[in-house]
């Protein structure tokens, strides 16, 4: 026995080691580019190569319509012959990333693409010797507009494009640090003295967060002046009179390395450690303009603007170069240290999107809004994530939003209600075209609503409004008896369309006698309309009953067998309503309401529909198939239109939406669309849709 057991254990051990090794190898192999995304990235989007190509082999992709189009177009434009997307040198089994970084002065948009074969990738560049420069195994290429940089080594490609924030340079004190002026029309006349140039020099990088190369790019084939901020001495008067001279005078160049502002923490460090040299270059007097200078003044203004824009562009380029260098050459904390990011991931997703904080999104764009900017409107809303899934049966988009604890607690209270189970009796799954159900706790909602409002908009109204808001929320609570209201409207409701019904309608037309005198006649025709049913729970019917009584007295409502009809001339359809077993029903089909009233309604809800409605606070379903062929051709607009209409509907699977229960501080919701039969998986179906659409 012993040896056998020993053997067994040994085997197990070996297997375990093998598995661990495999795992390690796998991990090592899958060294993911996520490590290159800085921890302060603001948005991260991922396309998961391995998951994508699990659904569609590279070979299938190459042979697909989209693949062929991509390959032929690229082949044509580069005058080469590509037969597979693998020819682009991209590692299709790894994740591709997009991320951006925001600061008060610049926004970087960046792509990280894994490479399998750098030579193949370089093959995409024509005249490559002239266009990029090599430094070790890192190759750099500047796109012709100097607004983007591509950098790559043997395993990854990095693309960055940066845009300077105008709001930052609108602050003259800040822009002066970079030798940039905020140019307004005629401003060159208003200043007696113009500080011509100012340079900020950061001698050595302050910390690991940032490395500025003293001589960034100075190789052959690379455009060196780009990294040098050109500073010229100029006299506006001369500029106006002799334009040609100016260009010649642009000669005094000085190399300036400027350090971009990253985030507040870095900014502080920058102030602490860097040496800022403010050096007024030249000072001169400007003679005030005479009116004859109007046109020249405008020309001067245009020129000045162009110069300043060029300076900003150069500055952006310097910053981008340094940013790209950092990605390749230094170690820093990656986004993986961000818990919000890592928890948002799902290994099965095809693509993912993560935004660090909605509050920060607002704050980052807020300065562009001017004075309202500093108010923090989205207070309490944290990170946002969206994931796309595709499998054999459906597409699914899952979204999540992180809330501050107070907010999440408020939502938890509000969502603490389930849909009235009796609602489910009135769904006919066989025929239902769609439904929408929601359930909230009215009492909790009314109690939490003022708080949420205060939290979200309080800051917007300004600190001085605090007392007024407080007063308003108290007044709201005083006027509303939350408990009483929640008895009248409990907070759960269901809207369902249990199919279509045709009914006869009358209309006016004309007939003509033998002498073609017109005679008005009433004709009838059939019209197909959806039968809808809306229900909500109500414990306390006293108010409803009073309303009904009032309606009957005023002839707004008529009653027959406890079913009320709303007498509203404007309404295109008849609306009936009734109250039964603590549920208020509204509907346009008298037969449906009658069957509910006398208990003969044929309940036939499917299990999936039941789960969808009962388990979630919000759910929605649209089943297009149940519409197919139900609307008479003549009502759609002829046989041909009808055929197309029915075909489209027939191809659509169920579309669902649902909210998920709050997990931790995250509220989330899913949207999914089933794919029609006869397709292997959602991705292939998507490709076939694209192909059909482009035909």
């Amino acid at each position: 026995m012993f040896p056998i057991k020993y053997n067994y254990l040994n085997k197990m051990k070996k297997i375990l080691i093998a598995i661990t090794l495999l795992f390690l190898v796998k991990l090592n192999y899958a060294q993911d580019l996520v490590k290159k995304i800085p921890s302060n990235a603001f948005t991260v989007a991922t396309i998961k190569g391995d998951n994508v190509f699990k659904l569609m082999f590279v070979k299938d992709f190459n042979e697909s319509f989209v693949g062929k189009k991509l390959l032929t177009e690229t082949s044509k434009s580069l005058d080469k012959n590509f037969t597979s997307i693998e020819d682009f040198g991209i590692n299709l089994e790894k994740n591709m990333y997009y991320f951006n970084q925001l600061s008060d002065s610049i926004t970087y948009n960046c792509f990280l693409i894994p490479l399998k074969d750098a030579a193949k990738f370089e093959n995409l560049i024509n005249d490559k010797d002239k266009k990029f420069k090599t430094e070790g195994d890192i190759r750099t290429m500047v796109l012709p507009d100097s607004l983007s940089i591509i950098k790559w080594n043997n395993s990854m490609m990095y693309f960055v494009t940066g845009s300077i924030k105008t709001s930052f340079f609108a602050d003259s004190a800040k822009s002066a640090l970079y030798g940039i002026k905020d140019v307004g029309y005629g401003s060159q006349w208003n200043n007696d003295t113009i500080i011509d140039s100012t340079a900020v020099v950061t001698p050595v990088a302050v910390d690991s967060t940032y490395m500025a190369t003293p001589e960034p790019m100075d190789g052959q084939g690379f455009d060196p002046p780009l990294v040098k901020v050109k500073i010229q001495k100029k006299t506006p008067i001369k500029k106006i009179t002799t334009k040609k001279n100016i260009s010649k005078k642009k000669s005094t160049k000085r190399k300036v390395i400027v350090k971009p502002k990253k985030n507040k923490a870095v900014e502080e460090e920058l102030v602490a450690n860097s040496v800022v040299i403010t050096e007024p270059d030249s000072t001169y007097m400007v003679t005030p303009p005479s009116s004859a200078y109007g046109d020249e003044m405008y020309d001067g203004y245009q020129k000045e603007r162009a110069e300043q824009d060029a300076k900003k562009k150069q500055l952006a380029f310097v910053w981008m170069t340094a940013q790209a260098d950092k990605i390749f050459n230094s170690n820093y904390e990656s986004i993986e240290s961000n818990k919000s990011y890592t928890t948002s991931l799902d290994s099965k997703a095809i693509a993912e999107l993560w935004v660090s904080s909605l509050q920060d999104v607002y704050n980052s764009i807020a300065p562009e809004f001017g004075t309202y900017g500093k108010t923090g409107l989205m207070k309490g809303y944290g990170s946002l994530n969206a994931k796309l899934f595709m499998d054999k049966t459906s597409f699914r988009i899952s979204t999540g939003l992180e809330l501050a604890k107070d907010q999440a607690d408020a939502y938890k209270k509000i969502m603490n209600r389930k849909l009235n189970k009796n609602f489910l009796k009135y769904i006919d799954s066989e025929k239902a075209i769609g439904f929408m159900g929601y359930s909230i706790d009215t009492k909790a909602y009314l109690e939490e609503f003022p708080k949420l409002m205060k939290q979200t908009y309080g800051a917007f109204l300004g600190a001085r409004m605090d007392e007024e808001i407080e007063l308003g929320t108290d007044l709201f609570s005083l006027l509303l008896d939350e408990e009483a209201v929640s008895k009248v409207v409990k907070g759960d409701a269901l809207f369902v369309i249990n199919g279509l019904n045709s009914k006869e309608v009358t209309y006016t037309s004309y007939e003509y006698d033998d002498d073609y005198n017109r005679k008005e006649v009433t004709k009838t025709k059939k019209e197909t309309l959806p039968d809808f049913l809306f229900m909500f729970s109500s414990e306390d019917n006293r108010l409803m009953n009073k309303l009904i009584k009032y309606g009957i007295n005023k002839n707004y409502v008529t009653v027959n067998n406890n079913i009320y009809k709303i007498e509203e001339k404007k309404s295109p359809i008849d609306i009936y309503f009734m109250i039964k077993d603590g549920i208020v029903f509204f509907g346009n089909s008298i037969t449906e309401l009658e069957s509910i009233s006398n208990g003969s309604f044929n309940t036939s809800i499917s299990k999936t529909h039941k789960t969808l409605l009962a388990k979630n606070n919000f759910s929605f379903l649209f089943n297009a198939k149940n519409l197919v062929g139900k609307v008479p051709n003549e009502e759609i607009g002829g046989e041909e239109t009808a055929k197309k209409f029915n075909e489209t509907l027939g191809k659509m699977g169920n579309i669902y939406m649902k909210s998920n229960p709050i997990k931790g501080n995250i509220v989330s919701a899913d949207i999914s669309a089933e794919i029609p039969n006869g397709h292997e998986n959602a991705l292939k179906y998507l490709f076939s849709l694209i192909e059909n659409a482009s035909k």
Partner: protein, 226 residues
């Protein structure tokens, strides 16, 4: 959720994709031998009243703004005011029925040529692009009534630019013109037109689609007995 929102939800789910509707346009002209006469224009959307009533509850449909009842009445009275000021026009009346969605405008004229620019101008005033160049004339000496109509090729191209969903609106629409006279008609040049038993009225029915596409021409020269 109030009732209006109910309808909206309903509409979005079912009615929007199928906006083809039937409507009738009837143009009636009674011409006396001395050249004076009466005109009655009728637009009848009653066959589509469920859809129209539903659309009226919306702010806009397929990218077009839906006018309110008030706006329609206002435009109608503007048209009436305009007609009253027009040369040779008198006895202007209009009706609008918002239960059946029928609107009419009627007036009398001194000479049938007074109408020529009016129809076009009313259409422009109603923000409907005038789609044809048409004219009416009556030659007293020969007792000849001439209706000229020329489908513009631009009409067709403009129409073809519309989305198929929008085009479908015109699918079931019809146009009927009736001309009544004091004297019997001896000859009509348009073979599509019909002569009444009394020979004193001429009717032409066509679909608005055919009119737009130029498949049918409503031009006619009607000769009355002398």
């Amino acid at each position: 959720m109030n009732l209006k929102q109910f309808y909206k939800l309903l509409l979005f789910i079912v009615l929007i994709p199928i906006l083809s509707s039937c409507f009738e346009v009837v143009e009636e002209i009674s011409l006396r031998n001395d050249g004076t006469g009466d005109v009655a224009l009728t637009i009848n959307l009653s066959q589509s009243k469920t859809k129209v009533a539903s659309i009226m509850l919306l702010d806009s449909v397929q990218g077009y703004k839906v006018p309110s009842k008030l706006k329609i009445q206002q435009e109608l009275s503007e048209a009436v005011a305009y007609l009253k000021k027009s040369q040779g026009i008198s006895n202007v009346k209009s009706t609008s029925d918002f239960n059946n969605y029928i609107a009419t405008i009627s007036f009398s004229f001194k000479d049938v040529s007074n109408i020529n620019n009016i129809t076009k101008n009313i259409l422009t005033q109603q923000k409907i692009k005038a789609t044809n160049t048409s004219s009416y004339s009556y030659i007293k000496t020969t007792k000849t009534f001439i209706r000229k109509y020329q489908a513009l090729s631009t009409t067709k191209t403009e129409f073809n630019k519309l989305k198929s969903k929008d085009k479908a609106v015109f699918n079931g629409a019809t146009y009927t013109s009736i001309y009544r006279f004091e004297s019997p008609v001896t000859n009509t040049t348009n073979p599509a037109s019909n002569l009444s038993k009394s020979k004193k009225a001429v009717m032409l029915k066509s679909s608005i689609m055919d009119l737009i596409n130029g498949k049918i021409n409503v031009s006619n020269q009607i000769q009355l007995s002398k």
